[in-house]
Amino acid sequence: MSILGSITVLLACQLAGETIAKLFALPVPGPVIGMALLFVALVLRRGLPAELDKSAGFLLSHLSLLFIPAGTGVVVHAQLIAAEWLPISTALLLGTAITIAVTGLTMAALLKLRRGAKS
């Protein structure tokens, strides 16, 4: 598979995902369905083409660049953020702390439980 081929695979999966989301009025973004389609295809195929791995690796290594154009849209919303700074900053700090605590504590407890059951 060439680089052109890998890009075509990624875009085709996205297109298929967007079409499925539209056809069935699904509450999931098209590219996410495309991700699931590609994942299933790789599992069924039992192998990852080296060129696809390389192209995806290039795209993902610059993932942070890709959200800059949209993030710069903050200039349009600067006043909104300033006006609602209290709920926004609380949701950011406390919300993130709650998420880390709930996820970490739940998974650690379950791993310990399984280890206990084995021994």
Partner: protein, 236 residues
């Protein structure tokens, strides 16, 4: 001189090139500063570009006419997240149950905490909906925000700030809570703080990083499925 500025201002290529130059400069600065979380290149780039656009009096639509070519790549990049997910297939199978339960609990906690705190402190409906998917990687979060009545561009900024929050404070918090298992620490970082959290988790160790990347992909999927359902349920 005015003619030159008019030409540059009207040419989308100016804004596409500027975005690439600013990002690489920010990335260089961040590496020079020992990858200090507060100097996150995305945060720096957005701050610099916002300042440039404001000072030069360029409106966002003009800027986006060039930057949209970078923005477009978010779609195929989201699809490409299937590849790291596939590479972790064996690890995934080994602690699948604990991982899935922890991830789902964290995913629901993230959405409910955002909705609840936003609502309690009197944020507008649009802001609350923009906050809801802020723990997942931005192509997915922006798609969700668009769908439930948030502002995708506001969500993109909130996603980045959430990532920085998790990367800066996550390790400290988990030490306090005595969460020592590397797999659990990784899943917590990836679930709460997506790619920026995963970058931090990779510095903590290989296993922590791998599980964080895995959790980031899975939580993207879980949040995309759960957010519209939870929002609909709470609105009733």
């Amino acid at each position: 001189m005015t003619a030159l500025w008019t030409h540059l201002h009207d040419n989308p290529l100016t804004w596409l090139t500027l975005t690439l130059v600013v990002y690489q400069a920010a990335h260089w600065l961040w590496r020079r500063a020992g990858m200090m979380p507060l100097l996150n290149p995305v945060l720096l780039s957005i701050a610099a570009l916002s300042a440039i656009l404001t000072v030069a009096g360029v409106d966002y639509a003009r800027y986006f006419s060039g930057a949209q070519f970078i923005h477009f790549l978010l779609g195929p990049a989201t699809v490409a997240l299937a590849i790291p997910l596939y590479k972790q297939l064996n690890r995934l199978r080994q602690s699948a149950l604990a991982l899935l339960v922890g991830l789902l609990a964290g995913s629901v906690a993230a959405i409910l905490a955002s909705l609840g705190l936003g609502w309690l402190l009197g944020a507008s409906h649009q802001t609350i909906m923009s906050l809801a998917p802020k723990s997942v990687t931005s192509p997915i979060a922006m798609g969700i925000a668009d769908q439930i009545g948030g502002l995708p561009s506001l969500t993109a900024v909130l996603v980045i700030l959430t990532g920085i929050t998790g990367a800066v404070g996550g390790g400290w918090l988990m030490d306090r809570l005595r969460i020592t298992d590397e797999r659990a620490r990784g899943v917590a970082m990836g679930t709460a703080a997506h790619g920026i959290g995963t970058a931090r988790a990779l510095q903590m160790g290989e296993v922590t990083g791998a599980f964080s990347g895995l959790a980031m992909g899975l939580n993207g999927l879980a949040t995309a499925l759960l957010t519209p359902i939870l929002v609909r349920w709470l609105m009733q």
